[in-house]
Subunit: 117 residues, 2 copies
DNA sequence: TTTGTAAATAGATGATGGTCGATCTGGAGC
DNA sequence: GCTCCAGATCGACCATCATCTATTTACAAA
């Protein structure tokens, strides 16, 4: 968590030259950093990365029953990963009868994408 | 982990209509997904996100003694976060006398950036 | 209404992660 | 040599996470 430099503990310099001129980094980035870190965290698992990749490449809604056999994981585990992505706002879902369809919320990745660029 | 569709368990369809036409997703993405997930995971913490942000904005090397007071964390904890970023290849470091300087490896973020775009 | 099926949820477990205080390392200066 | 300092590492602690099996929910068809 960032703090104002005035509140930061004073650093005692050794006798030699200082390492560098101090630079002030204001606190503005904290909320943005938390949002982007949350998105990155959700993407920070190979299974979820592949899920998003598959959903993105299809630009439409994909049935869970198509997603589960793509991985060597149990159905509840895939369901869990989809929930993590949904809680992060990265994907959305829709029920149709017995089946559930997932799709990507492209906007949810935009802030991170813009920052990385 | 992706598997070939031939190896995927056969799905028994209910009597009604299937949810959708099956779509084949080849295995090519796995290694890329693992690399990108590793980078995203390293960025998936607000402290590390801010560290990278600060380092990026300076486009030069920044002394650890400047980074520590920006956060309400102990010096070993900041050092730990820098190590996570370095292990992920996102930042590099250089010792100069008593001080250590960190900088961003811009290339390490390029694959993720390109994929997100 | 009974049966079968897709997906979500619950609960347990072992692994990983963030944080701290204490200690270690290695360079600078006396 | 000795001392002081910046930064890294260690060890412990507690929280979070990925995964599984078992169960529940919700819907469809007979």
């Amino acid at each position: 968590m960032m703090v104002d430099l005035e509140l930061a503990p004073k650093q005692k310099r050794p006798a030699g030259e200082p390492c560098c001129e101090p630079v002030v980094y204001p606190d503005i980035e904290r909320a943005q950093a938390e949002r982007m870190a949350a998105a990155a965290k959700a993407l920070g698992d190979p299974i979820r990365m592949q899920l998003v990749d598959v959903l993105r490449k299809h630009a439409g809604k994909v049935c869970v029953c198509e997603l589960v056999p793509l991985f060597d994981l149990s159905q509840p585990t895939v369901s869990h990963h989809l929930k993590v992505l949904r809680d992060a706002g990265i994907v959305g879902s829709e029920r149709r009868g017995l089946w559930a369809y997932y799709y990507v919320h492209a906007e949810a990745l935009e802030e991170l994408s813009a920052w990385l660029k």
